[in-house]
Symmetry: C2
Subunit: 333 residues, 2 copies
């Protein structure tokens, strides 16, 4: 592997700054509200209020896909930065505290007017699957001026969250950030985030992958949706060569890391009883990228990804409550 | 047991309306900040900000001692009401949603000015003990007009949280509510809440117990503090006869229910691995009072209390994420 240039940060991520509200729900509740299990639906503030009014008590915790990844990297001891927008309200203070408290840099100024901090209602069903309803609030107000390209240039890897692709401004910001990262000798990683999101933007996601992405993260549903493939194998064949590395996750089947002609199967880890899959993909990316920026082999990248995902699914919420660094030393060193 | 008069509510509670912030901490952190494990310290807003700035990421969830009890009673299928004050902010909205969503009545108007909704920083140490730092905010602004005596009169049991005794206004409100409850044929229950709180107000708590309380809840530290006793046995002998029923909890030793000459030992339940003792006493009171208002024997009251406490300590946070009613049917029926 080509050594990455010296940089002051390992990974900088751009994504939605969201506080999650975790509630328990059964399958009938999803049906009644027209929700598809395992996916993310965008809702407006009125829908958010209505839906919140119909669910039971919640646990609130910082979330956001890329933010979870960057928090995980910081918890592993990596040098992480996050760019995303909150409002100057109580949920914004919670988000800011949580990501900074694990040692990630987070300097995006909070909005002083406009919609409140983004919230995601996460319905956890008894099978531990999560179904998400997101009110994007302040997070889509990410100003081009907030896109701190100096921070992006300091990172070995720029990590982009596919969810942001729903906003045309964010699409442009993404491309600008990806170009700045590469010009500064960094690499660009992308998570496809959600099969519905891929479906909404298939063509532009394909162009993004072909033109700007070095490392692609996707689960089975997302990669088959991207290439309208009939099987995982077909989708894997399609993506090969379109970006340098593709890390494809398959839940209890583990993951597959593709690079050039290589195809490295990675066993899953499960560090306890499966409780809530929220954050599994985000923490896989965290483990993978942390190992990657330390110059580890792709197999070790995949294994650290699996380990971090295998921890976060044993707890409620997407920010690990166990010490990931200790787990890494115990299981992988 | 004398049958209780027909009422439209089983239990109405008065307490602090608080959102908990659960964070992990080690013993050294408690020492560094001069905190005593297992107790509650009152802090002001500046201290709250400072302390929050020095802890890791948190999980936010509705709390408040009496509020946890009333939520538990509602989750068991009891008719519950809560009186307490939040501010009209995001944390207040979370508190209001959570307690209403389990079916408890909560009509106290949110304050539109003044301090923000109360927060309690709960430091959970690796031994599962919790140490609490509470910023009371809006909750001590409970107005005499908010003290809905009509609601109190509708309850079979009025449940009072000892923590409120720190405020002279609340002391007066307590006595007024206790008198209204008894005049309407209801009974009065009190939780001593915290050994330090008992220490601050020993004489007035003794008067309250002697003059106004039918059912007293206390743990070993609290009851020995109340009577400056050298042992649990001595404290138990002291309290006997001062109120009709005393339910004394002793963590892993279970509990002891005293009534007249009777002394009923109750075995502890533990429904899984011990994770966080937050809410154990509150949920013991919930189970006890729910069975009590259904006319159950004191032994069954104690057993349902043990069961509910034994569930809540297997999870993070003081509001049960399992269905208490289902647990009750499985283990006690």
């Amino acid at each position: 592997m080509t050594p990455l240039p010296p940089k002051s940060l390992d990974v900088v991520g751009i994504g939605n700054a969201i506080v999650d509200v975790l509630v328990q729900a059964d399958d009938a509740f999803l049906d009644d509200h027209g929700l598809t299990k395992g996916t993310m639906a965008l809702i407006d503030e009125a829908q958010a209020e209505r839906l919140y009014g119909s669910v039971g008590p919640g646990l609130e915790t910082s979330g956001g896909s890329a933010a979870n990844t960057l928090a995980g990297i910081a918890q592993l001891g990596g040098r992480a930065g996050f760019i995303g927008r909150v409002r100057d309200d109580q949920l914004g203070a919670i988000f800011s505290h949580d990501i900074r408290s694990v040692g990630a840099r987070f300097d995006t100024p909070a909005a002083t007017t406009g919609p409140s901090t983004a919230r995601c209602l996460i319905l956890v069903t008894p099978d531990a699957q999560r179904t998400m309803c997101t009110y994007l609030g302040a997070s889509v107000q990410l100003d081009p001026d907030d896109l701190d390209l100096d921070l992006v240039r300091q990172a070995r890897v720029l990590y982009l969250e596919g969810y942001l692709w729903d906003s045309p401004e964010a699409q442009r910001a993404f491309v600008a950030a990806a170009e700045a990262a590469r010009e500064a000798g960094g690499e660009v990683a992308l998570s496809l985030s959600d099969a519905f999101c891929v479906d909404r933007h298939r063509d532009s996601f394909r162009e993004l992958v072909d033109g700007h992405v070095d490392i692609l993260f996707a689960n089975e549903m997302e990669i088959t949706s991207l290439y309208k493939a009939d099987s995982f194998e077909q989708a894997a064949a399609e993506v090969r060569g379109r970006c340098r590395i593709a890390a494809l996750t398959r839940s209890e089947l583990g993951s597959q890391v593709l690079a050039g002609e290589e195809s490295i199967p990675i066993e899953p880890f499960l560090l306890g009883e499966l409780v809530d899959t929220t954050g599994a993909g985000d923490l896989y990316a965290a483990g993978f990228l942390h190992a990657y920026t330390r110059g580890a082999s792709l197999e070790r990248c995949g294994r650290l990804g699996s380990l971090c995902a295998g921890q976060v699914v044993t707890q409620l919420g997407p920010r690990p409550q166990s010490c990931l660094r200790e787990l890494m030393e115990r299981h992988l060193d």
